[in-house]
Symmetry: C2
Subunit: 755 residues, 2 copies
């Protein structure tokens, strides 16, 4: 160990706050630090004040400084809360007035920008209190230092390395420093609830119906986009080098990394408008599914690119071994995270199935929350990516656990994660606005920025059109040109790109990427978000669609559903469209996983071979046996004992299950369905289970809202099963002249009798 070089001035002292950006949780905590009892609290030294007095005086002084710092922290977090509060109030105003050109996220960014400008130019810069000193004492840094200050020992922890050039520029605006914080906060505190909520609120039916296309867009598409953008940007970088606009290194791997982070699309504004206008559900599923999964792909892709380290000194040349190692890392991290998420989801499903926790919704909700959080920790503990694991955990929870929860817990968990998601998302977007002016290390390069805009445009085009062409070869329900254009248009970048970009802003290249990403997010969220409604009508994409209805039969003409399609053909479309792998999975899921993990599905005693009898009996929920009678009935879509159920509503006639047409058509459809009892028949119905509405509500609606309904409804119910029975009623929507009412029976355990 080298001796501490005492001849050169020993330590750099920075008063009050650390010189670089504050870590949020320390910020959060230090702001939370009570000011009452801080007697033995860490002393924060001020270099200006005289320290020659008694220790009591000194203690008082340091305590006062700590209090002052704590107060400033509180004020800076209050700034963010004020921002969010303002955003919420303005969102309300916009929703109230039906303003659609600006989404809440865009608004949050604008408020952030304004506060950023005020902080940047409106507050005086504090300076002069810091001196730059240095003390070389060994060739490595320690994680902890114990410093003996005249007999007292103080403990210091390592915060990170500072580039030598920055040492002397610690004179910063205090407030600017306060509002910048650790990027890992985005990644590890704000993103997980957003991503979990995306998985948990997935509309399974349409997602699974388009699963093949979604997977192709998310995996192949993101890889293509990353590769194209990376290569185009490498060209831009080469050009900049020739033009002499590049002041530091910018490697090919940096370009690929940029391609990876900027390939994470986040059409949050587009989807919000889709939701509001009830735009085409399949397009919604494609966009939503793609954006959710490509976030995961982008995370893993970017860390694989970072992990790409060729042997030898030339660390940025192509090396086949390193490349395949990166691919291996990609597959490993992805599948590992996927497994972690699925496993905790399955464990939660088993816990909620085999206990009667559903009698205590509070306990159930707490367990659900803890298990979902433990997914993140488990994945991180095992070296996988927590955010990706959380996504698949959300999907698993929605697919299995959700069915075991009590009615109250279902709404509690949904609402809990909805609030968390809302707060986290708006916080990120308002922080983005703030960061444009308060971030200290921006590298604005017009050539790079213009190049990036062109590259993401081309990358998105190379992602959507060729892939759609190939997908259409296999799809029965083609992805039309207008869908492709809309997907092309909806390539917004948002929270994930920002979080990936801010995660590492140490090098020149990364700083330039961060600045460019920020501008791309601003541009896409404001311009594309605002242009969604005109684009929808320009592309003739139908709006006002009931999500429980099937898409129109002729897939290239996107007229409003007219209720004249061939019913028999449509009835089996789901089955025909699904790839054989998916059907295999579905039947496995329906016959084995669902009965094992939930209270629904056929009893395992009927699906498992005879020699597994004991095991099957143990695993099958007793409720399944209780419900064996309705379970047989389940295999027909629903029970129509006498004729059909037809609602004359508005100007069109819709029969049950959303299929519209003449009475004979629907009756024959139901007839043909009732005769079959294979698991595939219930596929479509089952996938729709996520949006259940309950008996009581349905009853209310039936009683109040459907004066035109012919016939009566009688529902057999016993007290113990009342929770599980539900009748799903599609909501009545008044859009584009077509009023429809779809009645569908959601779960297998319905014993409703429509007479």
């Amino acid at each position: 160990m080298e001796p501490c070089d005492a001849a050169r001035p020993g330590f750099d002292r920075v008063a009050g706050a650390p010189p670089r950006r504050l870590l949020l949780p320390p910020l959060l905590l230090s702001l939370l630090l009570g000011r009452g009892l801080r007697v033995a609290a860490a002393a924060s030294a001020s270099s200006g004040a005289a320290a020659e007095d008694s220790s009591a005086m000194e203690e008082l002084a340091t305590e006062k400084e700590a209090e002052e710092s704590h107060r400033q922290d509180s004020v800076s977090l209050l700034t963010f809360i004020l921002l969010l509060t303002l955003t919420i109030l303005t969102i309300w105003l916009f929703k109230h007035r039906r303003v659609r050109f600006l989404h809440e996220t865009g608004l949050a960014m604008i408020y952030g920008l304004i506060v950023g400008v005020i902080l940047r130019y409106g507050t005086p810069a504090t300076s002069g209190r810091d001196k730059s000193l240095s003390c070389t004492q060994e060739d490595r840094a320690f994680s902890t230092l114990l410093v003996n200050v005249s007999g007292k020992f103080f403990e210091y922890t390592l915060k990170g390395e500072i580039s030598p050039g920055k040492i002397n520029s610690v004179e910063q605006n205090d407030m600017l420093r306060k509002v910048t914080f650790d990027p890992e906060v985005f990644f590890n505190i704000l993103l997980p609830p957003i991503i979990f909520h995306a998985g948990y609120s997935l509309k399974k039916r349409h997602f699974f119906r388009n699963l093949g296309s979604i997977l192709a867009y998310a995996f192949l598409g993101t890889a293509v986009s990353c590769f194209i953008i990376g290569n185009l940007m490498y060209g831009v970088v080469k050009l900049m080098k020739i033009m002499g606009q590049l002041s530091d290194k910018f490697y090919y791997t940096d370009c690929l990394f940029f391609g990876a982070i900027i390939s994470a699309t986040d059409p949050v504004t587009v989807l919000a408008i889709f939701n509001e206008l009830h735009a085409d559900v399949d397009l919604y599923a494609l966009l939503f599914g793609e954006s959710v999964l490509n976030d995961a792909v982008a995370i893993v892709l970017s860390s694989s690119i970072v992990a790409y380290q060729p042997a030898g000194l030339n660390t940025h040349a192509f090396d086949a071994a390193a490349f395949f190692k990166s691919v291996g890392i990609f597959l490993g991290i992805f599948s590992g995270s996927f497994t972690m998420g699925a496993v905790t989801g399955v464990v939660t499903a088993l816990m909620t199935k085999f206990t009667k926790l559903h009698c205590f919704p509070l306990l159930e909700t707490a367990l659900f929350f803890l298990m979902s959080w433990s997914t993140f920790l488990l994945a991180e503990a095992c070296g996988f990516t927590g955010v990706v694991a959380v996504l698949f955990c959300g999907i698993t929870q929605a697919h299995y656990t959700y069915n075991n929860l009590s009615v109250e817990s279902r709404s509690r968990t949904k609402q809990l994660f909805e609030v968390l998601h809302f707060l986290a998302e708006n916080f990120i977007f308002s922080y983005m606005g703030l960061a444009l002016f308060t971030f200290q290390k921006h590298v604005f390069s017009p050539v790079f920025i213009i190049g990036a805009f062109v590259a993401i445009f081309l990358g998105r085009a190379a992602h959507i059109y060729p892939l759609s062409f190939f997908l259409n070869l296999g799809r029965r329900h083609k992805i039309g040109w207008n869908f492709q254009h809309m997907m092309m248009f909806s390539g917004l970048r948002g929270a994930m790109a920002f979080a990936l970009a801010i995660r590492d802003t140490a090098s020149y290249a990364r700083q330039m990427m961060f600045t460019t990403t920020l501008l791309i997010v601003f541009f896409t969220v404001w311009i594309i978000g605002g242009g969604t409604t005109p684009m929808l009508s320009w592309l003739n994409i139908r709006v006002g669609v009931d999500p429980d209805q099937d898409p129109p039969p002729n897939n290239d003409s996107f007229q409003v559903l007219q209720g004249d399609g061939p019913d028999s053909a449509r009835g089996n479309r789901t089955k025909q469209e699904s790839a054989w792998i998916f059907r295999l999975w579905y039947s496995f899921d329906h016959n084995y996983l669902k009965p094992i993990l939930t209270h629904s599905g056929p009893p395992l005693t009927t699906t498992l071979p005879a020699w597994c009898g004991l095991l099957a009996r143990c695993l099958t929920s007793p409720q399944v046996y209780d419900n064996q009678e309705p379970l047989r009935e389940e295999d027909s879509d629903f029970i129509l004992t006498e004729g059909d159920l037809t609602l004359t509503y508005g100007d069109s006639t819709v029969t049950a299950n959303g299929s519209s047409g003449s009475h004979t058509g629907s009756t024959s459809l139901e007839g043909s369905r009732r005769t079959k009892s294979s698991s595939e028949e219930v596929l479509e119905r089952d996938l729709g289970m996520g949006d259940q509405k309950y008996l009581s509500k349905a009853g209310q609606v039936l009683g109040e809202g459907l004066p035109h309904m012919r016939g009566c409804i009688s529902v057999h119910s016993s007290a113990s099963q009342a929770d599980h029975r539900n009748i799903k009623l599609g909501e009545n929507r008044l859009e584009e002249g077509s009023r429809r009412k779809a009645i569908e029976i959601g779960t297998p355990r319905i014993m409703g009798n429509w007479c």
Copy 2:
């Protein structure tokens, strides 16, 4: 500046983790730290590894170490989640089996203890990697050090002082270090949701009815208890000094501080059992109100005692000036925190009143959450106590804002804070169990512990009995002996005492206090929690009480309500019992605050003087004008047009509003009520508004559960007002031979017509 003493070995290097307790948020964060892109992440040095190689090798090594540390952090948080999950599952089992002798908090402590024992004795202690070195360089500590390590600059932040004796004992069990974390976490992250929930879920009606007594118990009682315990403990300390059992200083102020922290009662287990058995509501209100407020009093009291710093060198003698300064600080902090909480509550109420946010429950819930959180920050920023502010914010939100929220937001906010409260509480209790074995600085002193048990017993007795005697002089509805015994018995210590004790464990005296507090919490939670049910029956305290009913007329005989009390006397009890100050406040609240802050109450144009006409019109909610018709009707308790509504249910006859007796009695009561229309008349009803149940539910219950009800119910409703109308139906309880059904109309806007 002294030079860094390089001759003596320079720095103490501790591998991996810092030597003292970890800060949770750093822990939380560092465990959350992603492992993918950590290229420029902080390097953590290992003293064992060779550092002579290339920087790339070193970077890899440090990155691996950081990853390892991150993984360990994840594992340790997973431990806590496992603990909580286990607790939840066992709670369910206990609730399922109706086991009442052990509350969930007691259970959490037991699991914590078990894990603590395993960590302490089951895992091998790691040692030998740390060396104790020292580097004196100045007489003060800096908050930040910049260390130049062979050209690279590393930043260190101060974690705190370490007592010299501990320097050499850094060889600790890694896992033990992992699971101990910053006490401020309890105070600033875990307590606020617990305290807010307490305020928000307050049953206002019974709370306000007993407000005078509750305030007396909380303020006077806690001060008495603190003083008595402090003095008794000073005697114990003197005794220990004589016996030679005291190895370090223990001042009188320390004793008073102990008295303050241990005076915070937390009868969480008792109240849970009260809730479950529906024990006497007034006793519940007294206990709950006292425990909620005395938490706040204890916090402020303890910080005032810390702030007691007499002038001169003799810093622990009595000094009148310093004493009055402490009293001033107490009053200042308390009233300041109270004001902060009330102000943010009022601002939230105004925001929710004058916007139509209630159309968007998600926005409303988010706003509510942010405003409640900002209370904490605001109070901390202004130098008050966040936890106390949060309590009063919760009460204000429940009293005003709650009435402006949409139905969905009401349940959302309640459920959100319920979950947060549940998780935080169980986390604290399981951490307590863990701390008994993993905390490194226990000072077990049998004399002090026995003395403390005796002192808290005597302190509680001196708190309850004399105060009850004086209160009974003024109370019409006396606090009976069995109530007093029960309150004496329910003096459990819980989360607040623990959080206050762990906040500062630097000195010997504080460590001894912490250990003693921990044992007191264990003992009281397990023994007293388990003994609540026997105690209730031994003291003849009635259970199975409908919270919406009035207490029995004869207050000293606690027999089961027999339904033969004089109705007319009971009808006006609330008014008679309330102190004049409270009545003054109530009429001010009802006439001015409620109309300004909520949609209910009389229009301001009728209550304010004429010259305020314009202001009154601006502030009054348009809904009040819309509802002016029903608002006039409101002033009679509810509308009984023809005769009375009597439910013959089980073996007793209960009339509306919970008053039981003969038909003539109740009719005359209602008759007398209908004639009056002063604001005081609605006092009681208004206070009960917190527990509203809604029309639909009431309708259901009416339809299903009340076959014996004579007559019919017709409710006039228009779409816009349906939300606000509700009929509260006390739930049917089968307890001790008395089946009752109380029907009460909760809000003023009811237009229900009982015929």
